[in-house]
Symmetry: C2
Subunit: 238 residues, 2 copies
């Protein structure tokens, strides 16, 4: 409703997802689109750049904006999508178990991660994710109380991101993620259905707000046979 180019981007994304283009088709030209949307060419170009960054199209000079085959890779674990969004798209039954919800004085370890004062208070949330009857993901969240004053079990059971963005109105901007494989801990064995697996895939994320403050550190531990990470990456100009 706000930005023209974001609206145009969403409109074209919707068209692509509805299957109005086959992969290899070209969109209307920038001039045609600017006429169609009653706007300037630069505004259209901003929308098309968003499409390009997110892997929907590839712009080819002299030719046009070619629609890419994105269906093959429609498991958007990359980016910053949360568990709830993910499982909704996967369309399976999911449940969240909240094992711990405490407010502690930030341990030195967590505070070095978040770059915060060791005296400040930090929420600790431990949740397991059950998909298709199996508990396969263990999420451990550490959140600064400065930015998120109140947390309830109810919120933790639904979506933290939804609460933070919609209720608190905070703008999550970017995250740094690390993926490694580690041997299982006692905690993993307690809260997950490991089916004999000795190792888990660990995704550690540092989440930042738009004002560059780090407010959340998350450790997401996945059973390896149920883990998948999909990424679309453009080659950076040199």
């Amino acid at each position: 409703m706000k930005n023209k180019y974001v609206e145009i981007y969403n409109k074209i994304v919707k068209d692509i997802q509805k299957g109005e283009y086959s992969s290899g088709d070209t969109l209307l030209s920038e001039h045609e689109l600017s006429r169609h949307f009653q706007t300037s060419r630069e505004t259209i170009r901003k929308a098309l750049n968003l499409l390009s960054q997110n892997g929907y199209i590839q712009k080819v000079r002299g030719k046009g904006s070619v629609v890419l085959d994105r269906d093959k890779f429609e498991f958007p674990v990359s980016g910053l999508t949360s568990f709830k969004e993910l499982s909704e798209r996967l369309g399976k039954s999911f449940r969240t178990h909240v094992h711990e919800l405490t407010l502690n004085k930030g341990s030195s370890q967590v505070c070095t991660q978040l770059n915060c004062d060791p005296a400040s208070h930090v929420w600790k949330v431990v949740r397991s994710r059950e998909i298709g009857g199996e508990r396969i993901i263990l999420d451990k969240d550490y959140i600064l109380q400065d930015t998120v004053p109140d947390l309830t079990k109810e919120i933790a059971k639904n979506s933290l991101y939804e609460y933070i963005e919609n209720e608190l109105g905070l703008e999550i901007s970017f995250a740094k993620k690390e993926i490694v494989v580690e041997t299982v801990t006692e905690e993993d064995q307690e809260f997950l259905d490991l089916k004999g697996h000795q190792q888990v895939v660990v995704i550690r994320s540092y989440v930042y707000l738009a004002d560059t403050t780090a407010f959340q550190f998350t450790e997401s531990r996945h059973r390896p046979d149920k883990f998948q990470f999909v990424d679309f990456a453009r080659r950076t100009k040199v």
Copy 2:
């Protein structure tokens, strides 16, 4: 030498890497930068957007372009001394063993991946990577002969990408990657020092040229204890 905004981007990247800014500092304002580089504000904005996309800065309206702590991103967690060791070893003792370099009629399997004619010819390259005396990565590459006519063992021993981009002048544009964990194969056991590991981390990549043709499919199989994936992700506008 070509594009102003790319040049300005590279210049600022170099300044940041030289440590001329501490994290939290702001760059000069867009107006000041445009004066400094003798160019328009829009050109500066293109350079700053590149910096933002690649995790160097965070733009805050009304405030400025805040320099992010990118060093921290490279080594995010305490236990990552091994990664440092790893990258140090990368410079010193890094060897590549070429186990197979053949030109075959594309199997149906590979050609569905690359979306090519089953009659076309496909290079198959199998290489293991030895770091610090241990063979820990097994790379299997499938490359269309249409785009890469000739390949030698010498090229495979050095860098395929370097040859493709610099020698052949092809522009690699984007890739789709998938990361999963799988049980080891006989091939893994033959070419890798698995040290008893039963599983490997598999990165499957589909690499595309600027004209949207898929020309390469790669399967990179890593010993789990030596695997690390680091990612910077911005939250996509909705």
